[in-house]
Amino acid sequence: MFQLTATPARALADEPVHIRVTGLPPLQIVTLTASLKDEKGYVYQSKAFYKANEVGELDLMEAASIGGDYVGVHPMGLFWSLKPEKVFRRLTKQDVMNSPFYVTLNLYDSVYVQVSTTDQPRASQTVERWFSGPGVQRVQIREGRVRGALFLPPGEGPFPGIVDLFGGRGGLVEFRASLLATHGFAVLALAYFLYEDLPKELEEIDLEYFEEAANWLLAHPKIQKPGIGVISVSKGVEIALAMACFLKQVVATICINGSNAIYELPLRYKDLVITPIPSFMERMQIDVLGAVRLRHYKGDARDELNQKSVLPIEKAQGAILFIVGDGDECLNSREYAEQALDQLRSHGRNNGRMLVYPGAGHLIEPPYTPLCYASPHRLSSRILLWGGDPVAHAAAQEHSWGEIQKFFREHLTQTRSKL
């Protein structure tokens, strides 16, 4: 009798699952599939073909997939290779507190290139993937101008505080903040446009809004003093770096695939206005699938004429970690990180560090998030290309997630306090 086990059946979305099958005919080639339905009803699926060993067992920690959505030994391959039935959709958990993603794992006893609705799996198990752990609290924030959600770990605290910034998609993206809170950080997922009464379009970066958020967080009784961290991706990186440069309370900043200079919109902080470096629409490229590659269209941040738009990173007092996907098709992330580090070095500073992941794309997210290679963007009728090779991107997500938490623990945790 075929038996499929996946443990733990109920886990955080960033935890691995150990999948095993027993009771197969020896050396039988089987199909394993995974599927989930997101909160809007879109279905994501993946499959892999494996060969059972001589005693009819299969352990995904050791066995290599022969074909399907991935090949080779990838214990979590079924999760990170999930693909939407409706192309170019990006999988994002909206409700991070009250429900998990349910991932159904099915075993078929031979090679099923296509699984039809009438095919019955020989074994099946559903696992729960949660974006917050027991005891994590979510607090809706509407303080002054600040809009977002604060995630607090269980317990009295105080906890190291982090502001979590996403990019040009706008709205409030919570899943990374809730996961970090489960790992012991107090995280403010901060919206800055296209959310509640915030502007619908981003016309400038008003750094005083982010200063207000940082100050509010630091003043919270459950947040450790004297400094907070910022984690950011894509457009959020410009904001995070500006916070690091101008706000002393920011002592640890993580920048994932963003630029070290201001683009498209001006940044304003009190009397200071940083004008953006122009972009050149004529340099945009359309790839073979019709998706837009924007990697080459931004003006050169190393050009002498653009230096007034480059953030004065040498003013940042805290530690900065750049996380770069070398296969980023949206931004030349590596170039920006290298320029920032050069700038630090030329001022005798050594508080910057870079992790470059070959083959990883723009959207580096917590582990096991399926690669979103391209997706629609609100500013364009076209699909935007993010890039990334699936295997390399999955490995980058696993590795960087550990590094992110290590970095914040190192630079935010007071040595005398216990978490």
Binding site: V113, I286, V288, G290, V292, L379, S380, S381
Partner: protein, 322 residues
């Protein structure tokens, strides 16, 4: 219909043309580059021009073919003469694909676009490919008063090339065969000729078709980035087999960066499309710029090859071997 836009918006649809009655209309617009990307499509251009892209030259005639078992369409160049005859075979997606045959006719060939499955009364999914059907097509073409003999050519792609290769081996009237991204063995559907299954070569123990038995010439066209079959390996194996048998009746054109769907020039790259039979998207491969260059180059080479071997004065007289 804007073919380029159609391809970009719906990469899963391969545009197939009604060749006789209407061209593709390609509109080229000059727009102000200051416009945001999202607005360009909806805004009036400063100036625009519409190009007509025809798949047949003026005077090309189309004749429906429903003789005996044959189903297809014969395209004849304008004028009185006799024209070198070519049979045009596509892959087994079914239907009748005419645009390459009509283009060949526009360049002076009498081209028979031949259907072999899922068209009119032909079987939807043939259980076997009977070479007698294709032999009938060869004889039909050679009998036609406007077709120059004594031999004919074949242009074939993918599964069509599997058939084209068998035809070249078994039918001595086939004297010039273009094989685009095809296997050199019988893949999936068995082939039968005169009651015998076409597979093993008697001379060797392999499954490869006995290409050394063919008397005509071969032009292998390979897209090295073909993601659906290992075209390069198969063509190299086939030419190696010819070499081992002392034959030099072949040319191999191998294009780095070109994919499976090598078509006439300026056809947009179809790097993946849906095969309704399999309910799957199939990847064909190909890198845009290099695939385009390969299509341009190979199309000229195909015509040169066919003229050289089918028109006597080009090769100093070619006699059909007895």
């Amino acid at each position: 219909m804007k073919r380029g836009t159609c391809f970009i918006l719906k990469p899963t649809i391969r545009p197939v043309k009604d060749v006789m009655t209407s061209p593709f209309l390609v509109q080229i617009k000059l727009c102000d580059s200051n416009l945001p990307l999202a607005q360009i499509a909806a805004t009036d251009p400063k100036v625009s021009v519409t190009l007509e892209r025809w798949y047949r030259a003026p005077g090309v005639t189309w004749i429906q073919v429903q003789e005996g078992h044959l189903r297809g369409a014969l395209f004849l160049p304008p004028g009185e003469g006799r024209f070198p005859g070519v049979i045009d075979l596509f892959a087994d997606i079914g239907g009748l694909i005419e645009y390459r045959a009509s283009l060949l006719a526009s360049h002076g060939f009498a081209a028979l676009a031949l259907a072999y499955c899922d068209y009119e009364d032909l079987p939807l999914h043939p259980e076997k490919i009977e070479l007698e059907y294709f032999e009938e097509a060869v004889n039909f073409l050679l009998r036609h008063p406007k077709v120059l003999g004594p031999g004919i050519g074949i242009v074939s792609i993918s599964k069509g090339a599997e058939i084209g290769l068998s035809m070249a081996i078994h039918l001595k009237q086939v004297i010039a065969t273009v094989l685009i991204n095809g296997p050199n063995f019988v893949f999936s559907t068995p082939q039968v000729y005169r009651g015998q299954i076409v597979t093993r070569s008697k001379a060797s123990e392999t499954f490869f078709l006995p290409i050394e038995k063919a008397q005509g010439h071969f032009l292998f066209i390979v897209g090295e980035d073909d993601k659906s079959i290992n075209s390069k390996a198969y063509a190299e194996q086939a030419t190696e087999q010819l070499r081992r048998n002392g034959k030099d009746n072949w040319t191999l054109l191998s294009y780095p960066g070109a994919g499976h769907m090598l078509e006439p020039p300026y056809s947009p790259l179809c790097c993946a499309s849906k095969l309704s039979k399999l309910h799957l998207f199939m990847q064909w491969g190909g890198e845009v710029t290099r695939h385009a260059a390969a299509q341009e180059h190979s199309w000229k080479e195909i015509q040169k090859f066919l003229r050289k071997h089918l028109i006597p004065q080009f090769s100093g007289g070619r006699k059909l071997p007895k």
